[in-house]
Amino acid sequence: MVDPVVWDIGYLISASLFIMGIKKLSSPRTAPEGNSLGAMGMLLAVVVTLAKLQTEGVIGWELIIGGLAIGALIGYLMATRVEMTGMPELVALFNGFGGGASALVGLSEALKRIQDSNIPDPGVELYAIWVAIGLSGIVGWITLTGSLVAMFKLKGGFTIPFTGKWVRFPTWGPSWLNAVKTILLLSSFALIWMTIQEPSEHTWIYALALSSGLLGILFVLPIGGADMPVVVSLLNSLSGIAAAFTGFVIGNNVLIIAGSMVGAAGLILTFIMCKAMNRELFDVLFKAFGGSGEKDQLTRTKVGSDPEEVAMVLDGAQRVIVIPGYGMAVSQSQHAVKEFADLMESTGCEVLYAIHPVAGRMPGHMNVLLAEANVPYERLIEMDEINSEFPDCDVALVIGANDTTNPAARTGEGPLAGMPILDVDKANVVVIIKRSLSVGYAGVDNDLFYMDKTMMLFGDGKKMMNELNGSIKDL
């Protein structure tokens, strides 16, 4: 018989590997190593658990081996087939699976205890375990359904099965929905109380799954485009918290340690995202913004330029700054942008990229896309550093970005007030590739479009970039 302390030591080593892994993941040089350490910690935790099951007597291997094999195969296929442009959706989906797994473990433990009539008498054990089951359920189901909604929003919509019809995913949230969400949350907590009152009753725990699952859907449904980075990182945090609560359910410290660290890490990211938009987390979650609010009416017009004109302006430029936004992701023009940079650099021009922290739909979205196009990451400059460079920049090329460049944010009025922006308007010439003059997510007309030094290239990002590249080559 193996002393059970051996398993605890194994889990301790695994937890230490996670701690070192997360630490190393926060610096570019050590990040790949950090990821490997995390994977090693996970492998060790799985091996220790299997060894422990084997020594303590396995009832059946079928479900264990089957689950591991099927999960590993699906995970492998999804990870190898994904394109960089599909990364936000995939991260959201994996995140949902993590939360769902935690919720299911809690549910399974409760049902098993009911089946085995292994319910403790009222006391610390009953309260602690049932509260943990309830909390891992609430957080886990919210993470699962919330992440699935987020995934469809990041995709933009879904295809109806059998008909092949593409439907845009709605963003919908009248203000009374907040009351519904509050009621659902309160009733979820009430249901935890019910499970403690009647621990042998299935009904309450299933009702809990239903109410918190619905809450997750209603929680993400009203949140629109530009607020997605906040929600995605918050859901990431929740999946960790769910795992930590599950650790209380099965009495395992490695779950508690790993889960709460992930929870804290996700929360930090959430606050970074909120700060970059100058919004409070509460406002993002409960107050509709832009999308469903009032939008500025467009009263001004601007004559579009053509790629030849822009190519001539770019001819001889010494310094160009590219400002990518969600539009670059949608039109998948990152490769065309890289080709543009290569063309400019071949004439001795310096090309930098200005990255706003909330550009795109998830934290670091632009960085991932540009990395896919082989843009060296030293060229991607953070907002605080690049802003002083704009006055010395010959041409600023904005592709598919809007609110993050809107000088209205400096006026201190309107929905964008106080949001840190890229000082694109200080560049000598501004070129903007955009479909139309329409307002961005915040619903505020952008003065940048109407400045005399601004040239608008109206059209799809990829198409316009390719035409621009063609014109530069023809010069």
């Binding site: 996670f18 892994g21 926060s26 570019p28 990040a31 950090g34 990821n35 490997s36 935790a45 658990t49 099951l53 009832i59 059946g60 479900l63 264990i64 089957g66 689950g67 099927i70 999960g71 699906i74 995970g75 492998y76 990870a79 994904v82 960089m84 990364m87 995939l90 699976f97 797994a101 935690s102 473990v105 399974s108 049902l111 098993k112 403790p120 602690a128 990431n236 795992a243 599950t246 650790g247 099965i250 490695v254 779950l255 508690i256 340690i257 889960g259 709460s260 992930v262 804290a264 996700g266 930090i268 998830m362 934290p363 670091g364 960085n367 991932v368 990395a371 082989n374 990451y377 953070e382």
Partner: protein, 106 residues
């Protein structure tokens, strides 16, 4: 095995300390790493796989398999997708960001 108040407080202590540790560990992250950090941390949250493994330990005989074990099996599949897919995807992204590819994942 019964859970005592002392053991519970011990677990809560670990929980609180780990949250503080998490905040300290990554107080400053460059934006380039936001996505990989999120996806790597997400893979680590798949640690719930341990619970799924323990609860999947049940006899499997067709129709008689109990609901608890089947739910644990579903949890195990989801957690394994999260873990394997998460670490592989993170590795893939980091390979591009660092401009070189590494072998690995889970």
């Amino acid at each position: 095995m019964s859970l005592t108040l002392g053991a519970l407080v011990g677990s809560i202590t670990v929980f609180v300390l780990a949250i503080f540790l998490g905040f300290e560990l990554i107080s400053k992250v460059p934006p380039t790493l936001h996505t990989p950090l999120m996806s790597g941390a997400n893979a680590i949250s798949g640690i719930t796989i341990v619970g799924a493994l323990i609860l999947s330990n049940s006899s499997f005989d067709g129709a008689n398999t109990d609901v608890a074990a089947l739910l644990a099996f579903v949890a195990l599949v989801m957690a394994t997708i999260n873990v394997v897919g998460g670490f592989m995807v993170t590795n893939k992204m980091l390979g591009m960001i660092a401009g070189r590819r590494r072998k690995g994942g889970e």
